[in-house]
Subunit: 450 residues, 2 copies
């Protein structure tokens, strides 16, 4: 007992650890009296200060207690300490290489204006210096909100006051805020088929969800109007995965429905920048800024890893936002916000989008012309918008479509894979999401054996 080797290193730490180990291991039992400081110091051949420091640490952590004029007593029952197991490396994600991947859909890294971005970041670091450490208001950096307001006016034709704009760390965080603002007790109508992450985000935020069918003109109005949903999440510019574009009349119907029950439209404008034919459609937000929450991110225009998105709140919800989150801080680093603000205000962002748009126009043309040569019966459904379209193969099952594609090195999903609730009428249709396809890949694609 009390035979610790304190010859090397930090003596008090070694003694502290030795005593702690003996307490945790049960060698020293609860209630047992420890030797006096002087006695132990003499026995171990160390100074009284060393023993005292070790005792004080044990005292502070509550392993022992001190009783006046009586000494120190063990007060911990047995607790197993954590021994260090061998290091388990963090698993790297495995990714299969495909000739073409129509599922993943990350913008090819070579398209990202990396040198401009790095230059902007270096500039922000130099110019803003320690200001980058200041607290950022919950809704985001003022400079970025002003730049976005100007951008939305130039590019989307809507006027969104900077004070109504909220910056968030990606779409999921924004949906989460929406649920907190509008209420968990209300019913949220979600597009079916649609991105499963949307449904999951709402559900994970604690919202009750109802799937609503998407037809050729986007979310089915009849179904929506009789659903009892208070909030309708739609992507009118270009729905994923159907590619449907919602006409202005349908938008107006849904808005007036939401208005009638004090509800909201969440307008998910995720790929509106990629209208490749004709003019960008005006967002539904323009029709009724009091009932539409406009949401967009930079996942498609910059990179999915650019964890930033923004929304424009109706005035009523903006007030509630400041009530709930006014004291909080933005969850996006000021650094990225400021660099993005400069990218947008300086015109780099729009030049980049326009370059991307031309690039994808090329990819789309190549894909459409290759599909035109396909021997098997098929029909392309394409609205000149966004970075995906669908192809119906009337004589093949979903399983056959995917396995034939896979045999040619092509990864794709069918409409039915994006169903969030069962539907019979979505079969035999492949979804061609080409946002992750380079021009070279598209040109090299061999569809002969399909």
């Amino acid at each position: 007992m009390y035979s610790y080797d304190l010859s090397g290193g930090n003596k008090y730490m070694t003694l502290y650890k030795g005593l702690r180990g003996d307490i945790l291991g049960g060698k020293l039992r609860a209630g047992q009296k420890l030797p006096g400081k002087r006695t132990l110091a003499r026995d171990l051949g160390v100074s009284v200060v060393t023993v005292q420091t070790a005792y004080e640490q044990l005292l502070a952590e509550g392993y022992i207690r001190s009783e006046e004029r009586r000494g120190y007593f063990v007060c911990a029952a047995d607790m197993a300490v954590n021994e260090r197991p061998p290091t388990i490396p963090v698993a790297k994600e495995e990714r299969r290489e495909y000739a073409a991947d129509f599922v993943g859909g990350s913008t090819p890294a070579e398209l990202f204006p990396f040198s401009s971005w790095a230059k902007l970041m270096r500039g922000v670091l130099t110019d803003c210096g320690e200001h980058l450490l200041e607290r950022v208001p919950a809704a985001g950096d003022g400079e970025l909100r002003c730049a976005l307001s100007d951008y939305l006016y130039r590019a989307r034709g809507i006027w969104a006051d900077p004070s109504l704009i909220v910056i968030g760390a990606g779409a999921e965080q924004l949906y989460d805020i929406i649920v907190r603002l509008v209420g968990r007790d209300r019913l949220y109508g979600i597009e079916n088929p649609g991105y499963s992450t949307i449904r999951r985000s709402y559900a994970s935020a604690g919202a009750r969800c109802v799937p609503l069918p998407v037809g050729a003109e986007g979310m089915d109005c009849k179904a929506a109007l009789s659903s009892g949903a208070d909030v309708l999440h739609i992507s009118p510019a270009h729905q994923f995965p159907t590619g449907a574009v919602m006409p202005v009349t349908a938008r107006a119907k849904l808005i007036s429905y939401a208005d009638g029950r004090d509800g909201y439209i969440v307008e998910d404008d995720y790929d509106s920048e990629f209208r490749l034919v004709g003019k960008p459609l005006q967002p539904a937000y323009a029709l009724c800024p009091d009932r539409v929450i406009y949401v967009n991110t930079f996942s498609k225009t910059l990179a999915p890893s650019m964890r930033m998105g923004y929304m424009v709140l109706p005035r009523g919800l903006a007030g509630r936002y400041f009530e709930l989150f006014g004291d909080a801080s933005s969850s996006v680093p000021l650094f990225e916000q400021r660099a993005l603000a400069r990218m947008i205000a300086g015109g780099t962002f729009e030049r980049h989008i326009s370059r991307l748009r031309n690039y994808y126009r090329g990819v789309r043309e190549v894909l459409l012309s290759k599909l035109g040569e396909l021997a098997c019966p098929h029909s392309v459904c394409e609205n000149g918008a966004g970075l995906h379209f669908t192809v119906k193969f009337p004589s093949a099952s979903d399983g056959e479509i995917k396995s034939r594609a896979l045999a040619a090195g092509i990864n794709l999903r069918c409409l039915s894979d994006y169903l969030i609730a069962p539907r019979e009428d979505c079969a035999r249709t492949a979804v061609i999401n080409y946002s992750g396809i380079t021009l070279d890949r598209a040109r090299a694609l061999d569809l002969k054996n399909i």
Copy 2:
């Protein structure tokens, strides 16, 4: 009209911007016909391709439309829906200057190792380049998780496998994830008094909360054990605002209580790095890694604007985490994660903490010695931990304490200001949170007239 100076730079872009400006400014009205491409090219002395490219850009963005064999027409009519009011500047937060602010508590900017940080960021930008655009797993960058695992072992004596570590954008996001993992239907016990943001975060995440009294040894065990709470949120190393340190016996009791009802302890280790006397106390996590969720952030050690925190999950919850969030991406930019990983792995972080600790030790000494000279009756309650302590003024009301401080230019709050549910026994006690106080400010403080 149409008199653009295209002599320098990118001609088509200048023309495009000129036309766009005139459309937005109303000089070119909706429905108005634009001059033919050849005519305009001749008038401006540029090539037809330049004009065509500018027109195509305007066309793509929807500023003009083309009618076959008739030419180009301005179509900005839909954009007028939303007239642009004069820009309203985003309000800057007003902050009163105090001789000393014991409420705000942001680490003074001058203490942040900004030049090291900027150097690390520049290095990451150069070394990682386009890899920074890759998708980051929901739980965070592997490099950062490994660096944190090593750090936790070195600095806190706990072994946390990197696969159990989750990086989040600040504490609020982590609490939110905890609620999603453990369940909204369970009851969360919160320290009273405590940070109001903790209670608000849980409530906003949809959790049911019960306030539990904090005494001299942290959260009251008796109250906790009879509360029915399934999850107990505690800060055993140093509770805010009481300054209580929880002895190991009490920790063990709470853990065994949580274990008995398949619940969890959330260990909020927010300022454990600032144990200013003796060594840091071992976290409760070490006692039972299967029942304790360890949470910490960089708000105190680096800067509150560094929106990053992390938690170590028990194995059971880690599985559930990957089920729920496996497909999602981290909400923290890879850039910051990588820079922080290097800061920790390279030792800069620990050197910085040790410098900070010495610095605050100085601030604490100055404050304690100044308080020692106070004429009015008072008693300091201080545990040598963290960056705050309390002072009881038995003969003054809370209102008197604050107004007398304010008259001397000092902003402070009382224990009762941090109550999240009423308690009678927290009166007459000032909270001295000195994390935002520089040494100069502390020395200049004049307490004579209090």
